[in-house]
């Protein structure tokens, strides 16, 4: 695939004009960089594991502990950075699992039509009818809750959205002249779906993935809030909200800071996603 640098520059210039999107981009990039470098840049990297210092428990935010400490004396700020790792990893894995399945199903349903289309669409409808949180909880109820299981559970409920998106796109693209031209030239359906149709879906898919990242993080946090995600002592945003909840309102810093951390992540991805959507002029 050719990368045309003129086009990329043009896209960047257009993207730049929207201040909110640039802000979103910087938030996301910051989160990515910071969480990758977590062991190096956090003040108390060891607090991300099994660390206990009961004397330092419930310390309010100070210069030593920017966001205070939690019930067992761990630095909340450091744990949040590590928790971002968990969340971003969750988002990445969920999308890596859900998107290819959803996209391929959507292409097949939209291009092949007939029985394939009916089957895929009905299965998609069934999945879409169940709220993602409920579906994830149901799946997790069958197994030992853990981070990997949570990823699978969320991905299970996520792929149908991509199927629907790509199905609609494929239906309309399939009527274009260049698709008939490809068929007349002898191209096989697989080539047409992957090489002619799919590249024209990249804008909407990318937009949706970016917007979804935030929502996956939110969903993952909800699951771990309920104790169904990453298990202690792994730092996790939802778990930290849950652990801090009974301490409110006096010891406010654990819950408030982890909640805000979730908000920041979702906000960043949303703003970035909207910027990407505007860039592609997409209707997602």
């Amino acid at each position: 695939m050719n990368i045309d640098f003129n086009r990329t520059k043009k896209h960047w210039r257009r993207f730049q004009r929207n201040r909110a999107s640039v802000f979103g981009l910087s938030l996301v990039v910051t989160l990515l960089v910071v969480s990758t470098l977590a062991p190096v840049i956090t003040p108390y990297p060891s607090h991300s594991g099994a660390f206990v210092d009961v004397d330092r428990a419930y310390e309010a935010p100070s210069t030593r502990h920017l966001l205070g400490t939690d019930a067992v004396g761990r630095d909340i700020f450091s744990r949040l950075i590590f928790a971002y790792r968990t969340s971003l990893l969750l988002a990445a894995v969920v999308l890596v699992l859900a998107v290819p399945i959803g996209v391929v199903a959507g292409l097949a349903a939209g291009y092949q039509r007939g029985l394939t289309e009916t089957l895929i669409l009905r299965v998609t409808d069934i999945f879409l009818a169940i709220p993602s949180l409920v579906l994830a909880m149901a799946i997790l109820g069958l197994f030992e809750p853990s981070l990997p299981m949570a990823m699978v559970a969320v991905a299970f409920g996520w792929w149908p959205w991509y199927t629907r998106l790509v199905y609609n796109l494929t239906r309309s693209i399939a009527t274009e002249g260049y698709i008939s031209a490809a068929r007349v030239s002898g191209a096989r359906p697989t080539r047409i779906m992957l090489s002619e149709i799919l590249p024209n879906c990249s804008g909407p898919i990318l937009t949706k993935m970016t917007l979804d990242a935030g929502f996956v993080i939110l969903l993952g946090s909800s699951l771990s809030f309920l104790g169904l995600g990453a298990q202690p002592p792994t730092p996790d945003l939802g778990t930290m909200v849950a652990q801090g909840a009974p301490l409110l309102p006096d010891v406010w810093w654990p819950t408030v800071s982890s909640s805000l951390a979730i908000v920041i992540a979702v906000l960043g991805f949303n703003l970035l996603g909207e910027g990407i959507r505007d860039l592609f002029g997409v209707d997602v």
């Binding site: 274009e176 002249g177 008939s180 031209a181 068929r183 007349v184 030239s185 191209a187 590249p199 024209n200």
Partner: protein
């Protein structure tokens, strides 16, 4: 070259697009197919290039069994009407043009593509550009280059220039004619502009509501049209001078309403001011002159 025998096409919702159409195209010639929307000309194109299959009848290429082999894309190719939909916006021009070559495992490097560009009058500067950078006329040239890439024998052109400006259309048509002569191609040219048809076609076939109502050498049909629908079509040609105006038949001032098709006989009856009782009889092709046939019961020029 290409033979259609009793070809019919009925769609899933029971609309009849084509009904019992038969004709032959001689190699190296251009057959123009004309008719208004609903005449079936687009369905005809799609059937011939293999995008759809006939509900009835056969489409045969010489050297192949009826209905087979022409779907591979090497015997027949297609150029469509809308240049803005003809090219994949996410692929460069050269990627679009080389597709037929890639699919058939033929040499598809830049030299081959540049040669094709040369034939259609495109500068090699467009090789790595995207369709959004090209005008309508240029895009259509690209579509033609792509159609010619795998050396087809028959090219179906579905109103290839109707979306283009008149000054560009003339150049593209000239290019099509010279390419035809150079490669010995056969053209099936679906047209809306009949004045154009006269300059470019060898034979003309007139379709009305899915039926072939007249077919013959273009000069004969233009000079002495037989079917009343052909007469109406010719009379409605838009002309810009007296000379042309004198060359087309007249048509009475008649209010053609959208009506139900008749239950028997000629489908044109409801719109025909000359229809008589015998028009209820089944329409069959009658010969008149050499290679000229029509299905009219009250042909133009008689009584």
């Amino acid at each position: 070259m290409l033979t259609l025998k009793n070809v019919s096409k009925v769609y899933a919702d029971n609309t009849v697009a084509l009904s019992n159409v038969s004709f032959t195209i001689t190699r190296g010639t251009t057959l123009a197919v004309v008719g208004e929307s609903g005449s079936g000309k687009t369905s005809l194109a799609r059937l011939i290039v293999g995008l759809e299959s006939p509900s009835d009848g056969h489409i045969t290429f010489p050297g192949s069994a009826p209905d087979e082999a022409h779907r591979t894309g090497r015997h027949v190719q297609l150029v469509q009407q809308d240049p803005y939909s003809a090219l994949n916006p996410s692929k460069t021009i050269s990627e679009s043009v080389r597709l037929p070559l890639v699919v058939h495992g033929l040499p598809n490097g830049n030299p081959e593509i540049e040669k094709l560009f040369n034939h259609v009058g495109l500068s090699p500067q467009w090789l790595d550009r995207y369709p959004s950078e090209l005008s309508g006329g240029q895009r259509q040239r690209v579509a033609i280059a792509r159609a010619l890439a795998a050396s087809p024998e028959l090219v179906v052109l579905d109103e290839p220039t109707s979306a283009l400006d008149v000054s560009v259309q003339a150049k593209v048509l000239r290019m099509l004619v010279s390419v035809q002569q150079e490669f010995g191609l056969t053209y099936l040219f679906i047209a809306h502009d009949l004045a154009l048809v006269k300059s470019i076609a060898t034979t003309i076939a007139v379709l009305y509501r899915g039926e072939l109502v007249e077919i013959g050498p273009v000069d004969d049909v233009f000079k002495t049209p037989k079917h009343r629908y052909t007469q109406q079509l010719l009379s409605s040609i838009s002309v810009i001078d007296q000379l042309d105006a004198a060359l087309k038949p007249s048509w009475p001032q008649h209010v053609s309403e959208d009506v139900e098709p008749p239950t028997s006989g000629c489908l044109f009856q409801p719109r025909c001011p000359f229809a008589v009782a015998r028009c209820h009889a089944k329409a069959t092709l009658q010969p008149v002159g050499s290679n000229h046939q029509h299905t009219c019961h009250v042909p133009y020029g008689s009584s």
